[in-house]
């Protein structure tokens, strides 16, 4: 790195052997360089982030809005015909869009709610003093290391209609075979299961971290007041974790809104339709289908903006809720 040659450890500079004015000039130059360095280097350090974000985040974001007002085809992305809001108005009368929106919502609820509830319970258990506690923590996190692709392919097999292990196990206890891929609610449940499997452990660790930050004397005084373990959990742990729970709820909701890989690959060879009857097509998948299967980039952009608006809406609701909660706590 070039730094070592410009190193500013006061080294004997040429000026030192010269006359006094020359030395003063050298010193002045050095201090000017030093001031410049102190003043501008913070900007130099943060510039890479902003340059990359501007190029690959902000510009595309705005350009998506621009493209959503045009008819653009994937085959010739540079030919853009202005169509105004037509892409959006078509979306509103598009059954597949509403279907995808509904599916995104139901799959989102089916995956987020159990995921966070189970994570809370597991975190509580991991918070006890345990033998092999590190083993449990690592093991619980392992699904996080699996990719969407690998996980979904395994679950496709486990949820197979004729020979899948889930149906085999259900058969043992006397249930009929469920057609996990072609059913309505069953396919959504199966897709949600993949999400729950991959992310529960991750959230459990986040909760565990928050639990370990709860002051122990809160529990002690609760115990002195005669609170049972369950009451301590409800009245001490949960309130202390409220910000964390809110945080994970927001993150999981954003994740659920963007669900894409699981429904794409759960479909096997059939492509981006989200099942034979679009029964588990999500918004993310619908965007992909419009853009990269039907080649309508303009419409895909409109879907992207619709998703963004939904996220903003969720953000606003979340803000309201947390605001209310905070108010409720102080009053």
């Amino acid at each position: 790195m070039a730094s070592d040659t410009t190193a500013a450890v006061p080294s004997p500079s040429p000026g030192q052997e010269g006359t006094a004015p020359a030395r003063a000039r050298g010193e002045e130059r050095r201090s000017r360089r030093y001031r410049r360095d102190v003043r501008w280097s913070p900007y130099a350090f943060i510039t890479p982030f902003f340059v990359f974000f501007a190029a690959f985040g902000l510009f595309p974001l705005l350009y998506t809005g621009w493209a959503s007002l045009h008819q653009v085809e994937l085959t010739s992305p540079n030919d853009m015909t202005w169509v105004g809001l037509r892409n959006f108005s078509r979306l509103l009368s598009d059954d597949f869009f509403w279907n995808a929106l509904r599916n995104t919502f139901t799959i989102g609820v089916l995956s987020t709610v159990p995921q966070l509830l189970i994570a809370l319970g597991i975190a509580h258990l991991l918070n006890y003093r345990l033998r092999a506690s590190m083993f449990f923590r690592v093991a619980v996190l392992t699904p996080y290391a699996t990719s969407v692709a690998a996980a979904t392919l395994v679950f496709v097999l486990l949820f197979g209609r004729d020979y899948g292990m889930v149906n085999w196990a259900l058969g043992l206890v006397g249930f009929d075979h469920v057609d996990w891929q072609n059913g309505g609610w069953s396919s959504q449940l199966a897709v949600s299961t993949i999400v729950v499997w991959r992310w529960t452990g991750y959230n459990a660790l986040i909760y565990l971290a928050a639990m370990q930050a709860v002051p122990a004397d809160l529990y002690e005084s609760a115990a002195l007041d005669g609170a049972s373990r369950w009451q301590q959990f409800v009245h001490v742990t949960i309130p202390s974790l409220r910000p964390t729970i809110l945080f994970t709820a927001v993150v999981s909701t954003i994740g659920a809104t963007q669900l894409f890989g699981e429904p794409l690959l759960f479909n096997g060879a059939a492509g981006a339709t989200g099942g034979s009857d679009h029964q588990f097509q999500t918004l993310g998948l619908y965007l992909y289908e419009q853009g990269w299967v039907n080649l309508h980039l303009g419409r895909a952009s409109a879907i992207a903006w619709a998703m963004f608006l939904i996220l903003l809406l969720i953000g606003a609701v979340n803000w309201l809720v947390s605001h209310k909660l905070r108010k409720g706590m102080t009053s």
């Binding site: 392919l153 964390t244 963007q258």
Partner: protein, 293 residues
């Protein structure tokens, strides 16, 4: 230079401090945890079992619960059919570059936000955090247009460059350095006349090393498993990542399930290995990022 005191505590230490007050888990605790752990690990183990069987055996009930003798044959077919060698190499390059870039740029920016004084600092930090809210789907269409225009389709930089910086990374490093890096240390170096870059190189990087390692691992796992953008920017015939190659395996005319499982195993194995070796650090990193994030 002198080792600095470690400010960040491992959670083991924390546990030890509270040991006296914390209750032991009962038998029920262990039972529930073991069941949950088994559920977490089972699909992975079963991937290996299915990969060691034949396609015909997988189309029978009951499903196999133990390993068969076909593992190496299936791995070999998956390796050649899905071009797994190239895919693994590509993914290593992609995830490695993204992790290295993210760690480097995040440390620089995190240091500036944690310890340096400059105008608009707070506003800019809020901007960084705000960028976390922008979903990747929103930029995927123009990103694709850009990549097509630059003729980057099917080239690895199309996947690397857009993810080279991360707002989470900047925030993570800032939070770490605020506590871990004593301001006096920087001031002392400044008095000695050290340039900013020298401060970064000789003080910030050594102090930040534990957090850099954690951020690097988290970013690597995320980049390795990324799916949405790679499947758009890369094709199965060009230079796929493991995830893209896997989808190709699943879409054959007569998909051979045992081979697909072998491919899934190949794509997951490197990360599982990393989990066995560095699991403790990864867990610590997630928990640390969580408390402060």
């Amino acid at each position: 230079m002198a080792r600095l005191p470690q400010v960040a505590q491992g959670d083991d230490q924390l546990t030890a401090q509270r040991a006296g007050r914390q209750l032991h888990g009962g038998r029920l605790t262990y039972a529930v945890l073991i069941v949950f752990t088994a559920g977490s690990l089972f699909p992975l183990i079963w991937t290996a079992i299915a990969a060691s069987r034949t396609n015909t055996r997988l189309a029978q009930t009951p499903p196999p619960f133990w390993f068969g003798g076909n593992l190496f044959k299936n791995l070999q077919i998956a390796w050649t059919d899905a071009n797994m060698g190239t895919a693994l190499l590509n993914t290593t390059i992609v995830a490695g570059s993204i992790a290295a870039g993210t760690v480097f740029f995040s440390t620089l920016a995190g240091f500036a936000f944690a310890k340096l004084r400059f105008r608009f600092k707070n506003l800019l930090l809020v901007l960084v955090i705000g960028t976390m809210m922008v979903p990747p789907q929103l930029s995927v269409v123009p990103l694709y247009m850009m990549v097509a225009k630059l003729s980057w389709t099917d080239q690895l930089q199309a996947v690397i460059l857009p993810t080279l910086v991360s707002a989470f990374g900047v925030f993570f490093m800032r939070q770490y350095l605020v506590e871990a890096l004593p301001t006096e240390l920087i001031e002392a170096a400044r008095v000695d006349g050290a340039s900013s870059w020298r401060v970064v190189w000789h003080i910030v990087f050594p102090v930040a090393r534990p957090a850099m390692a954690v951020l690097g691992m988290l970013t690597f796992v995320m980049a390795w498993n990324d799916f949405f953008w790679p499947i758009i920017a890369l094709t199965q015939n060009g230079s796929p990542t493991v995830q893209v190659a896997l989808t190709g395996l699943g879409r054959g005319y007569i998909p051979d399930q045992s081979v697909i499982m072998a491919g899934a195993l190949l794509g997951t194995l490197p990360l599982l290995l990393a989990f066995v070796l560095f699991g403790r650090q990864i867990v610590g990193g997630i928990m640390q990022g969580a408390v402060k994030g």
